[in-house]
């Protein structure tokens, strides 16, 4: 069958540079999830149209659509990671496309019938499964094609996830404007159209992706080699050689896996809360200076920094090493977070924006560099499945980050702190989280040789 692993082996002469666009097609599509908030207000006035009617859904009810999708992303990446390694990238990408597009179609039905649970099931659960499958499906394939620069290759794909919102947001706005009538917000029609558009776009990835033939090596001057966490390739006694394969079930028993789990969780927690609160935060820290339009520009700029950081930092990690890259994230990130309240006191919008742009570039870089870090520690064999299990850290951070930012701010304001200063404590907490991340990353050492995969006979 066309989707089977054996039918997706690249023929001789196939250029490996055709694989990143296939991965990007998937990630640019599923990255739309970050832009789901553009549907929040239209969904809250489906009945009343001009203003919310009593039977219209509240924003807090609608907010659970995105939360459900992110939770299901983590769960499906965890559950299907192992299957993906056996089924191959083409079948996994196809299933991701069916689920992601199918989620839009089911959600359209929920809008038409005005049943929120159908939208939770559609975009949240079915679409969320598509998100998880799509997110991890190209990772191990890219690492196999680019053993000489795995950070750059996976960074390219994961950059697409960051950039997906930049396409998804204006596309949704344009489609809703096109389909809107005096009696309809045009949301159901937009969901149907986006489902169809994204399905076709993801099919491009399905048809283009190929696995390298067994024994294939890139035709490059420098021999490909995995790094130790410290950046070199030298092997120490008792340690598995860099890039040696470790079975996924063994990998999660190692302390390295859980240290990287903590590294990802802490790095994401520090960034994700700020992303969700960026617009009100800059307006409250610079009252009278920054209006709603400028705040929207700030949010866009952060998205751009998040996207570019994914490619730039992960590519840098191929040169300076994964551990050093995360050291920079945690030291520089903590220093910048600690300096943010000062920019507010000085009234310097330029420094505030610049500091946050660097912070968000490192947030994206953290996502993009982790697959190559996993490959260095646990090899290529099950890197997709191990990556899937590590992404549960994202689900935890997705809850912890916004809770930290929102609740501490509310607590401060309730205790008489001015809105402009209400974020200071949060910033210091974020800096502290990054220092914890520094310690976790510092403790990462090569995996013990006893965990190394010794073949099927050893289970």
């Amino acid at each position: 069958m066309f989707l089977d692993r054996e039918h997706s082996i690249a023929p001789q002469g196939y250029s490996r540079w055709r694989v990143p666009p296939a991965a990007l097609a998937i990630h640019l599509a599923i990255g739309q999830a970050y832009a789901f908030s553009v549907f929040n207000l239209p969904l809250s006035t489906l009945v009343g149209i001009d203003k919310a009617a009593p039977t219209d859904w509240k924003l807090s009810t609608i907010g659970w659509i995105f939360s459900t999708a992110i939770i299901c992303l983590g769960l499906s990446a965890f559950t299907f990671g192992r299957w993906l390694e056996e089924a191959g990238p083409r079948k996994a990408m196809f299933c991701a496309a069916v689920c992601f597009a199918g989620g839009f179609f089911v959600a359209a039905l929920g809008v038409q019938l005005h049943q929120i649970w159908i939208i939770y099931l559609g975009y949240g659960v079915i679409g969320g499964i598509g998100l998880g499958l799509g997110y991890i499906s190209p990772v191990s394939t890219l690492i196999k094609w680019f053993p000489d620069k795995p950070g750059m290759a996976t960074g390219l794909a994961i950059m697409g996830f960051g950039g997906g919102a930049m396409i998804g947001s204006p596309l949704a706005v344009a489609l809703m404007a096109h389909f809107k009538t005096p009696t309809s917000m045009g949301v159901a029609e937009t969901f149907l159209a986006m489902g169809a558009i994204y399905f076709v776009f993801m099919m491009f990835g399905v048809f283009t992706v190929r696995l390298p033939a067994p024994g294939w090596t890139p035709n490059v001057a420098r021999a490909p080699e995995a790094q130790t966490p410290m950046g070199g390739s030298a092997r120490r006694a008792g340690h598995a050689p860099p890039g040696a394969d470790v079975h996924v079930d063994e990998a999660i028993k190692t302390k390295q896996f859980w240290l990287l789990w903590a590294v990802l969780c802490l790095n994401v927690t520090a960034g994700i809360g700020v992303l969700g609160q960026a617009s009100p935060m800059i307006q409250e820290m610079f009252p009278g200076v920054i209006g709603a339009a400028a705040a929207a520009g700030f949010v866009g700029l952060l998205s751009l920094a998040n996207m570019v950081g994914r490619f730039v930092w992960s590519s840098c990690s191929d040169i300076i090493g994964r551990r050093m890259t995360y050291m920079i994230f945690f030291v520089l990130g903590a220093a910048l977070y600690a300096a943010i309240p000062t920019t507010g006191r000085l009234g310097s919008v330029t420094y505030f924006v610049a500091f946050y742009a660097v912070i968000l570039s490192m947030y994206g870089g953290g996502f993009a560099t982790i697959p190559a870090y996993l490959r260095d520690l646990f090899g290529v064999m099950h890197v997709g499945a191990i990556h899937g299990r590590l992404l549960t850290a994202w689900s935890v951070a997705g809850v912890a980050g916004p809770v930290l930012v929102n609740y501490i701010r509310e607590y401060q304001i309730a205790h008489g702190v001015a809105k402009a200063n209400a974020y200071s404590v949060t910033m210091y907490i974020m800096a502290s989280l990054l220092i914890l991340g520094f310690v976790a990353n510092y403790l990462v050492k090569p995996v013990d040789a006893s965990y190394q995969w010794k073949g099927a006979a050893h289970g």
């Binding site: 196939y14 640019l28 697409g160 947001s169 491009f204 520009g297 996207m307």
Partner: protein
């Protein structure tokens, strides 16, 4: 069709929507510096 042409076409398919999206963001971000 040569392999290089196929590579270029594959990149065009993903870069066109990506550049459009980035352009949308950059034009909105200009409001921040007005």
């Amino acid at each position: 069709m040569g392999e290089r042409v196929k590579v270029a076409l594959a990149w065009l398919v993903v870069l066109i929507p990506a550049v459009w999206g980035v352009g949308q963001v950059v034009s909105k971000s200009a409001a921040l510096f007005k």
